[in-house]
């Protein structure tokens, strides 16, 4: 053994080769030997010699080390790290060197994600085969127990400030050797960590206290949190980890396919578009959106960047929602933003870059086929010798394909996002700041979406953590630029038309009915001759204070201020398109709003023996929506240099508006747990809404729930593989008041934009009018939704396999609906009544499995929800027709015994083969206008309910349902070494799509527009047997009437997302970069569907119109399809 004292070994510093130290394996078994003896043994095994300063190394220290074929580096680490000795190999020497103390335990830790996304920290060193003790120090032993006195295995015991530690055994026993004045830290997941001074004790027994915030996954519910195992209501939880931390455009996409019974439909494929979330079916006839709550207070969910979300909880049954009472009938989505955790600042960057590409294309007619069809369309109008306009007679011009209009409007768009987060904290303050930038080009037109996000939250702990003050501040600036293409127009353009025409005003081509018989709009004109810029700034400032009056009693007060400002700008240059000339013009609007809310609640938590009680009472006041809006317009600018409305020849204030709302609520909840087995929850809330007349304003919303953790029962203990068995049932009422304000008054109507006008006088002066256009809603009250829920949860093999099944029945009664009144009242707006009743019932299941296969760990989860929607009553009202579409009238009918917004029309029998067939059809049914090639419709019924030999309204029937019977999702995640892979599938089944664009627009052959190649099969001459009728402009037989010809299956399964990630092994664990993950993602790579249109994920005609959504849904009028997206990203943590 070389024991040379070298006072100056600076010369020897240089390249430190840890590699060599890793390769050499050491096997040692020392018990009470001196360090010197051990080091000598190491020198023998490694053929190396130690080189060190004697001041730094106490060779007489007795050590206890037991390693078996462990690397030299690891061995040295165990021997010396506690003394802050660093080592390196130089030549054949192991150089030992004293370094400054540092926070060594940190670098031996790694984070692993366990079941339910729970994060816990385990120490790699605690795996049993390595142990090091310092014999000259004292030995401590003891038993750690849980609250029931049972020995608690797996408790980490670490000497504070060192890596010295151990773990309790199966009986909760432990033994550890520590230095002088040591402090021991006892920690275990789910229990409160405790730090104890060893003093002169040699036996330390300890009872660990359960940590309600850590024992297991906590689920955020209204005004509090509940342990997942103690939940009595139906709550779905989604965490970013479940989504693979990948890029999502909005919060809806995080939920999509990940919560049973929650159907998420994106409004359209444009970036920045919103989603419709339906929880357990269509609960009401008008607005059936859930209530969104962010960090405990209702608000606009889109204010928060998806990257800043810690968790999303979806409250599904009334037991969970009733605490939000009046506004919760359609479920509640709770969003919790990320918080800082105690520790040094942790900086995370996430960015990606990629492309959105167009999906499918439709097969359109080429020029020759198009011209062939035009001739048929025109000659079947009754005009026997129709002469085409001169332009169309020039075959050398019109038989040439000049423009693929789909290619002209679709494009590849760039998408990128950058997000930076800094979080950390101390005992007294925790903070989290983040900022993000998102830019996404649509895959069509020149539309672009940009978003800037900021989030700042901080919490201060005062008076020994009895008082907590905090704020959550979110800001979002959004910008929508440019135009998305109207591809309905694109599809109608003649393929012979060029895209550009330098001789036309504006430079883009046009076709006209006079020259082309086709007056479709060139879609490029409006894209490129209009500048659109819509921006919105949203601020959300939340302040709260929480005070523990006594440990069991906490009062919280929270204040929220939501502010928004917006500006829409739309300038169009002068152009001629189709038959229409549009002058240049500018439309601008400005709006702002302010909505404050104030809430107070007190929570009482206490245990008395086997009784565990949590009680909460609170109130809320909201005086919201102080909003104002103004729209201005200017037209006919002389020059387009200065584009202010006042520079226009004509300018005007087009519209103005204002709004206000209020709420006042009191609520309370009792959670009672008996013997950790029997769970009981009672909620009560009462709300007042000014939407009803004084006297009808208050509504009461109670709920009860019971849970039984059967696995805690003694008789279940002999089923060791069954780790969880829980039953829960609930009943409750929640409400809905979304009818708009002041409906109980007979309001004066002055037109939608104060535009009841009539010109009078010799100068045609404009006079403004006023009238009454609505009857007041009298004696209306809250709509109530009563739901029952029953669920069974089963977990096997330590919950490795987890299964949940739920049944629910939700009855929405007193649905606020405008019961149609006779048009002969001359009143356009029917009053709201509590008229209808709707039932949604169904079952849901969730299945999770996590397993290992060699080095591969994986997780599979599947969820599905069956739902049946049925209108049980419309009160005294008649069926509600809706879904009106130009050319064919109402598409949907909401009627008793059928789902909301079901498709209603005729059934096709056949296409009349020849004149004899047509004659027979005419004679049988009196359908005088039917000719060969027209559609024969079925005589289904008559005034007496039986076929009556007449094809009329009585033959209309329910032909489809836009509500899916089954929605499902499947998610798969796997890790292999440093690789991770996720994919997500979502789908729905049992619903139908009304393909308005595909059939009326693209197969209708009523107008000389381009059509899909399906029309090549059209009936042309006697004897043609086909299902495509003749081309007829007059369509006197109404072949295009609402019928099952439009109905297609809406079932689809979509590969939503595939992500492959690789986490770089960090060469130097103490380096600046703590974690670096690279990934590639593909979205919407394929969709299995029988639907013939662009995209089976159909929203509604006007998805932003909440009032009409449910009766307009599932009708494909040319919503912009979802893009296919590919991107690559990087996640770095510093």
């Amino acid at each position: 053994m070389l024991t040379v004292v070298v006072m100056c070994f600076g010369l020897l510093q240089g390249v430190a080769s840890d590699q060599a130290l890793q390769k050499i394996k050491i096997t040692l078994s020392a018990s009470g030997q001196t360090l010197e003896e051990v080091m000598t043994e190491i020198e023998n095994q490694s053929n190396l010699v130690f080189f060190f300063n004697n001041k730094d190394i106490n060779l007489k220290k007795r050590v206890d080390i037991n390693v078996n074929s462990i690397s030299l580096a690891e061995t040295l680490n165990m021997l010396f790290q506690r003394d802050n000795i660093d080592f390196s190999k130089i030549g054949n020497q192991i150089v030992l060197k004293k370094v400054k103390a540092k926070d060594t335990p940190e670098k031996n830790k790694e984070e692993v994600t366990r079941k339910f996304g729970l994060q816990q920290t385990v120490n790699k060193k605690d795996h049993g085969q390595i142990n090091i003790r310092y014999m000259q120090e004292k030995q401590i032993s003891g038993t750690i127990t849980d609250e029931t006195g049972e020995g608690l295995p797996g408790v980490n015991i670490v000497e504070q400030g060192t890596i010295n530690g151990t773990v309790t055994d199966m009986n909760g026993d432990y033994s550890i050797t520590v230095g002088e004045n040591a402090k021991l830290v006892f920690s275990s997941v789910g229990y409160i960590s405790q730090t104890l001074d060893v003093g002169n004790r040699t036996v330390i027994d300890l009872q660990m206290q359960e940590d309600v915030t850590q024992l297991e996954e906590l689920v955020v519910v209204g005004y509090g949190v509940v342990k997942k195992s103690d939940l009595t209501g139906s709550v779905a939880s989604v965490k970013p980890e479940d989504v693979g931390n990948i890029a999502v455009q909005n919060i809806g996409q995080m939920i999509q396919g990940r919560a049973a019974g929650v159907n998420v439909v994106t409004n359209n494929g444009l970036p920045g578009s919103n989603v419709k979330i339906k929880i357990r079916g269509t609960g009401t006839i008008y607005d059936s959106d859930p209530l969104y709550v962010i960090d405990g207070m209702p608000g606009d969910i889109n204010t928060i960047s998806p990257q800043d979300i810690q968790s999303i909880e979806i409250l599904k049954d009334a037991s969970a929602t009733a605490i939000y009472g009046a506004r919760a009938a359609n479920g509640v989505v709770l969003v919790t933003t990320k918080r800082g955790e105690i520790g040094a600042p942790r900086v995370t960057y996430h960015g990606y870059y990629g492309a959105a590409t167009p999906g499918n294309k439709l097969d359109m007619l080429n020029s020759a086929q198009y011209m062939d069809m035009i001739k048929d369309v025109m000659s079947n109008t009754g005009t026997t010798s129709y002469e085409l306009p001169p332009k169309l007679q020039d075959a050398s011009y019109v038989n040439v394909d000049r423009t693929d209009w789909q290619d002209a409007v679709f494009r590849r768009g760039a998408i990128t996002e950058h997000h930076l987060n800094v979080g950390g904290g101390t005992e007294t303050v925790k903070y989290n700041f983040s900022t993000g930038y998102t830019s996404m080009d649509a895959n069509g037109g020149d539309y672009k979406y940009e978003r800037y996000n900021g989030l700042a939250n901080a919490e201060f702990s005062l008076i020994n953590d009895r008082l907590r003050l905090g704020e959550n501040f979110a800001i979002r600036y959004e910008n929508r630029l440019g135009n998305s293409p109207d591809f309905t127009s694109a599809l109608r353009m003649p393929p012979y038309a060029p895209a550009r025409d330098p001789y036309n005003v504006g430079g883009w081509s046009r076709v006209t009915s006079a020259e082309d018989l086709n007056d479709a709009y060139n879609p490029l004109t409006e894209i490129y001759l209009s500048d659109q810029d819509d921006e919105e700034l949203k601020l959300r400032a939340q302040f709260y204070g929480e005070f523990d009056i006594i440990p069991a009693l906490t009062i919280r007060t929270q204040l929220l201020m939501e502010n928004w400002w917006g500006h829409n700008y739309d300038f169009n240059y002068e152009y001629l398109n189709g038959n229409v000339r549009t002058p240049n013009g500018l439309a601008e609007s400005y709006y702002k709003g302010f909505s404050p809310q104030w809430e107070n609640y007190i929570t009482f938590t206490e245990e008395f023996g086997v009784h565990n009680i949590t009680a909460m009472v609170g109130n809320t006041y909201q005086r919201g929506g102080h909003s104002r809006r103004i729209e201005v317009e200017g037209n006919n600018f002389e020059s387009t240099q200065v584009l202010l409305p006042t520079f226009a020849e004509e300018f005007n204030i087009k519209n103005a508006g204002a709004g206000i709302s209020a709420y006042m609520s009191y609520y309370g909840r009792i959670n009672y747990i008996l013997m950790n087995k029997y769970l009981f929850t009672f909620n009560y809330r009462t709300d007042a809404s000014p939407r009803f007349a004084p006297g009808d304003r208050w509504g009461s919303f109670p709920s009860f729930a019971l849970g039984w953790k059967m696995h805690e029962e003694a008789f279940m203990q002999n089923l060791p593989s069954l780790s969880t068995a829980k039953l829960r049932v609930s009943w409750g009422i929640s409400g809905n008041d979304r009818i708009g304000n002041f409906r109980y008054l007979s309001n004066i109507y002055t037109g939608s934009t104060n535009n009841i006008v009539y010109p009078l006088g010799v100068n045609n002066e404009m006079y403004l009018g006023a009238t009454i256009n609505a009857l007041p809603a009298q004696n209306i009250r809250w709509e109530t939704s009563t739901s029952v829920n029953a669920a069974l949860e089963l977990g096997l093999f330590e919950d490795q396999l987890f299964f949940t099944a739920e049944y629910y029945n939700r009855l929405t009664d007193g649905i606020l609906v405008r019961v149609p009144i006779p048009n002969s009242t001359g009143i356009d707006d029917a009053p709201f009544k509590n008229a209808a009743e709707v039932r949604n019932s169904g079952v849901e299941f969730i299945l999770n499995y996590q397993g290992d296969f060699g080095d591969i760990s994986y997780n599979i989860s599947a969820n599905g929800g069956f739902n049946q929607n049925e209108v049980l009553s419309l009160g005294e009202g008649n069926p509600i027709p809706n879904g009106n579409r130009g050319g064919i009238g109402n598409i949907t009918l909401t009627d008793v015994g059928n789902p909301i917004g079901a498709f209603y029309g005729y059934k096709v029998d056949r296409v009349l083969v020849d004149e004899a067939d047509a004659q027979q059809y005419r004679d049988t049914y009196g359908e005088e206008n039917a000719l060969a090639g027209d559609i024969a419709f079925q005589d289904i019924s008559g005034p007496d309910g039986v076929p009556d030999g007449v094809i009329d309204d009585d033959d209309k029937t329910f032909i489809g349902d836009p509500n899916p019977n089954f929605t499902y999702g499947m998610n798969f995640g796997a890790n292999y070494k440093n690789f991770d892979l996720q994919f997500a599938l979502t789908g729905q089944a049992g619903n139908q799509i009304f393909n308005y664009i595909g059939v009326y627009r693209l197969q209708g052959m009523r107008r000389p527009f381009n059509h899909t190649t399906e029309v090549l099969d059209r009936w042309r001459e006697d004897g043609d047997v086909t299902d495509m009728p003749r081309a007829t402009q007059a369509d006197e037989n109404l072949n295009t009437r609402v019928s099952d010809r439009y109905i297609e299956s809406g079932s689809f399964m979509r590969m939503r997302n595939i992500t492959l990630g690789y986490t770089l092994p960090m060469a130097n664990e103490g380096g600046v970069v703590k974690r670096l993950r690279l990934y590639v993602t593909g979205e919407n790579l394929f969709t299995l569907t029988g639907y013939s249109g662009y995209d089976p994920e159909i929203s509604a005609i006007d998805p932003n119109n909440d009032q009409n959504y449910n009766m307009f849904q599932g009708i494909d009028t040319g919503q912009f399809p979802q893009p296919r997206r590919f991107f690559a990203g990087v996640q770095v943590t510093f």
Partner: protein, 533 residues
């Protein structure tokens, strides 16, 4: 300890429940609209209610677009061109059902007009006039309410026969009786007459320059006369018409130029107009030129323009021609000699040898390619293209020539042919048409002259359908055998371009629209034709 907890808890509970607010917190004032109880208190507000009533004349189903299509096509004044499609074409084809949206709008808009009118009648009394001028206006506004209420009901009863009838605002808004059964035609006519008499009492003889275009006493006389004529009260009708003639306030706008100008935007101050729909285009910043496609009072902004010039114009949308039957009617026999009526070239562009005008602002009219296209109510004498449907030509509802011919009709239906002739000749004289000198020998002869004159003078003004129906239903033994269905089908046979089928008899009554049937369980839909009307 536990007691303390309960004490503290109770105190906090009290704080939360009683602490902050009471129900007054929820008392909000609507920042966007007045309500029935706070409005209708001033002259401006009452005037707005009257304006709101007139505004319905511009709604869908009425004169921003649909009325001219529907009744020109059904009355065979206009003939479908290829570009006329869908819901509008069904009126030419007589293939429309009770589901036709244009038909629905006819119904809805006239009832909307009625309701706004009865609101005026009801609310005008709540207003306390503050000065003599306001006191003068109070009954006048009420008179306008009565006039517009009658106008709406007269349209409805002529189109649909017996109709649901509500008399007052309190009746209309009675939530227990929103669905009303059909009221017999005669009862509806009686109440129209009573209301028009109230209007006559209250309306002024004329309006000042700023208010020209509102209903006058003479508008009410003319309408009342027309109502009497329709129910066969010829003497009563004539009394009303004579009030207009004797007032000396109206005359035919002189010469062919006068006739032409009556259908240009010079017609806002015509001496001939008794009641019209005022149109004006205030520009894109105020409104949308396409408001006639359902944008009234919604997305259309503040717009009062007419789509007609664009819809009918041969160099614009060119949805219709002048019907072959109308064209042929200009060439007829007067007192034994073949005669081409001078109004033909004022009414349509076409082959000059068939009476059409062969020139327009764009040069020579290519009648071989273009057929016979509308000149009346179009602007192609001064512009070559509309470009947008922004016509500001007022729509004539009742004009002096119509009144003169209705006077003639009262005489003819009372077999006083000699008395009728001067009124017909007065109308002909204005355009320089040959005057009739021989007193017709029989009712048939006089009736034929009258029918022809109304067709030629009023072509394209949506009178013919109602004329034919009036005559078809007239209780006049000597007119027996007049069959509007046969007349219309004879007209249609002349259309070799579309080869349209026949009109079925049931179309004499328009079908009650589907929405009304569905929402009004009180309706009997089998009064005139089973499952139709």
């Amino acid at each position: 300890m536990r007691l303390n907890i309960i004490k503290i808890f109770s105190l906090l509970l009290a704080f939360i429940l009683l602490g902050a607010c009471n129900d007054e917190f929820l008392e909000l004032d609507n920042p966007e609209a007045y309500d029935e109880n706070t409005y209708f208190k001033t002259q401006d507000q009452i005037n707005s209610a009257v304006i709101g009533t007139y505004a319905t004349l511009l709604h869908r189903g009425m004169h921003a677009r649909d009325w001219y299509f529907i009744f020109d096509l059904m009355g065979s004044d206009a003939m479908k061109n290829t570009f006329l499609l869908g819901d509008d074409a069904e009126f030419y084809n007589f293939s429309f059902q009770n589901t036709n949206p244009r038909l629905q709008e006819l119904w809805d808009t006239n009832y909307r007009m009625r309701t706004r009118a009865v609101i005026v009648i009801d609310k005008v009394d709540e207003w306390q006039p503050e000065n003599i001028e306001e006191a003068r206006l109070q009954p006048i506004y009420k008179g306008e309410g009565y006039f517009m209420k009658s106008f709406a009901y007269f349209n409805l009863v002529r189109m649909f026969g017996a109709i649901p009838y509500a008399d007052t605002w309190n009746d209309v808004k009675d939530t227990d009786n929103l669905a009303r059964p059909r009221t017999e035609e005669s009862v509806v006519y009686d109440s129209i007459i009573a209301d028009l008499q109230r209007a006559v009492e209250r309306l002024p003889e004329s309006w000042d320059d700023a208010n020209k275009g509102r209903a006058t006493k003479y508008s009410a006389h003319a309408l009342l006369g027309k109502v009497y004529l329709t129910i066969g009260e010829y003497a009563m009708a004539r009394n009303q018409f004579m009030e207009i003639v004797n007032s000396g306030r109206f005359n035919l706008w002189d010469g062919t130029e006068g006739y032409e100008n009556q259908f240009t935007n010079a017609n806002w101050d015509s001496p001939e107009t008794i009641f019209d729909v005022r149109h004006n285009w205030y520009g894109w910043s105020a409104g949308n030129a396409y408001h006639m496609f359902g944008g009234n009072e919604t997305w259309g902004g503040r717009a009062a323009n007419s789509g007609r010039a664009m819809e009918y114009g041969f160099n614009d949308w060119w949805n219709v021609f002048v019907s072959s039957a109308a064209v042929e009617s200009f060439d007829y026999t007067v007192e034994g000699a073949s005669y081409m009526d001078p109004r033909s070239s004022l009414v349509f562009y076409g082959n000059p040898s068939e009476g059409g005008d062969g020139n327009w602002a764009g040069g020579t009219y290519d009648y071989r390619a273009k057929g016979n296209s509308w000149k009346k109510y179009n602007r192609y004498e001064t512009i070559v293209k509309e470009g947008n449907p922004t016509s500001d030509i007022n729509t004539q509802l009742i004009r002096y020539a119509d009144v003169l011919l209705m006077i003639a009709e009262t005489y003819i239906f009372q077999d006083q042919y000699a008395e009728a002739l001067p009124y017909i000749n007065e109308v002909r004289r204005r355009v320089g048409a040959l005057e009739y000198t021989t007193v017709p020998a029989s009712f048939d002869e006089a009736f034929e002259i009258l029918r022809r004159e109304r067709r030629l003078e009023l072509v394209g003004e949506q009178h013919r359908w109602f004329d034919l129906k009036r005559w078809h239903l007239a209780d006049k033994s000597s007119a027996a055998g007049f069959d509007m269905v046969a007349v219309i089908n004879a007209d249609r046979a002349l259309d070799t371009k579309n080869n349209p089928g026949d009109m079925a008899e049931k179309y004499i009554y328009l079908p009650i629209p589907i929405n009304e049937l569905q929402n009004n369980p009180q309706l009997d839909n089998n009064l005139n034709y089973p499952n139709w009307n």
